[in-house]
Symmetry: C2
Subunit: 215 residues, 2 copies
């Protein structure tokens, strides 16, 4: 079932502020522990689709590595976390940035600003066996051929086992859940008509693991 997580999964848990350069560009402070928000699975957009930008919304891209949960569980220890991962997926955490600025000021939830239909472009399932080291992957995003984001998962503030430990200490993880692990710097808006292309590769061998495109 994990391979069909886009169709059958029940939740998307997205980590915020997990790359120091991105924390700086949004003038936020480095978190002392991981934090996260939920996105609805109705926000998935398979590669090749179009992000719908609601009227009046400034829609920012955030390219991220996704963890697809295989074996569910709660209170998963970081030492046991890897055994709960079935695979990976390249994803974009689209964000209504102008609305997010407003709700942050008012202390309101992030669910709407992160949860519009089509706001989670998602690549194909990558079986775990194809990934030598999830903490040494390059992930990048281009708009109309121009490189905007180019990060390495080695730069995560909180690494994958810690993320799984933290999330599962609050809510049970189930098979098919997706955890988004945060975005490196370079985020910005997309506009109608833009062509967005993202890639994920093994940073040691340059072997491509996934591509994801949308308009």
């Amino acid at each position: 079932m994990a391979a069909s997580f886009v169709r059958n999964g029940r939740k998307i848990v997205a980590i915020g502020r997990n790359y120091a350069d991105h924390v700086k560009e949004l003038k936020n402070t480095i978190p002392k522990e991981p934090f996260f928000f939920l996105k609805p699975t109705t926000s998935y957009l398979p590669s090749g689709g179009n992000v719908e930008i609601p009227r009046g919304i400034v829609a920012h891209y955030e390219v991220e590595l996704g963890l697809v949960i295989g074996k569910g569980g709660r209170d998963i220890s970081s030492s046991d976390a890897d055994s709960h991962i079935a695979g990976y997926a390249l994803a974009v955490d689209m964000t209504a940035r102008n609305l997010q600025d407003e709700v942050k000021k008012k202390g309101l939830p992030w669910s709407a600003v992160k949860g519009f239909d089509t706001f989670t472009p998602i690549g194909s399932f990558i079986p775990k066996s194809q990934v030598a080291d999830p903490h040494n992957l390059s992930l990048w995003l281009k708009i109309n051929g121009q490189l905007k984001q180019n990060g390495n998962t080695a730069d995560m503030i909180f690494r994958i086992p810690r993320l799984i430990e933290h999330v599962s200490s609050i809510m049970t993880l189930e098979e098919g859940d997706l955890i988004l692990t945060g975005t490196p710097s370079g985020i910005g808006p997309i506009n109608a008509g833009d062509e967005i292309l993202c890639g994920l590769a093994d940073a040691a061998t340059q072997q491509e693991l996934s591509k994801l495109e949308f308009g």
Copy 2:
């Protein structure tokens, strides 16, 4: 499938600040339009279970009417909203109030403070045919026999069709989704060992529609 929404549903959309008396007791301002947050379906606790209060957490009850979606859709108009409802359920939106006060100050998401396992006690599915008027239901909550909340759905600031219109303008609703419609005044903490009993009844006839209990 709607009748088995607790097992098979994919999201819980919870409306905030939808009863004026509750808005006042938390010293919040009356919203100009509905707002909501997501709770994970892993937070469901069937009647008869025990809410787990994490160490250091002040866990508040909020008794609420839940709408169970039958026919999915997006951009549902308020005039069409009723046809998307399969039934109702009595629910409690448990909230880690001390953590919520912190995240509101910091402009952080609400997902964790609302999303702990067991933080959505939920009653049985009530088929729509049993409910004469969803805007004239009394809902109450007692702790150890003492009445704490006693509201009427007639007092919602935003009524059910408007809630469905608003949520579905942002995210597609699917069969088995639950919409929590907000809580009347009287919220407060529960403590280990408390016995909580909630009820839902037709306010015109006093006919009982649901009971929900947890410890």
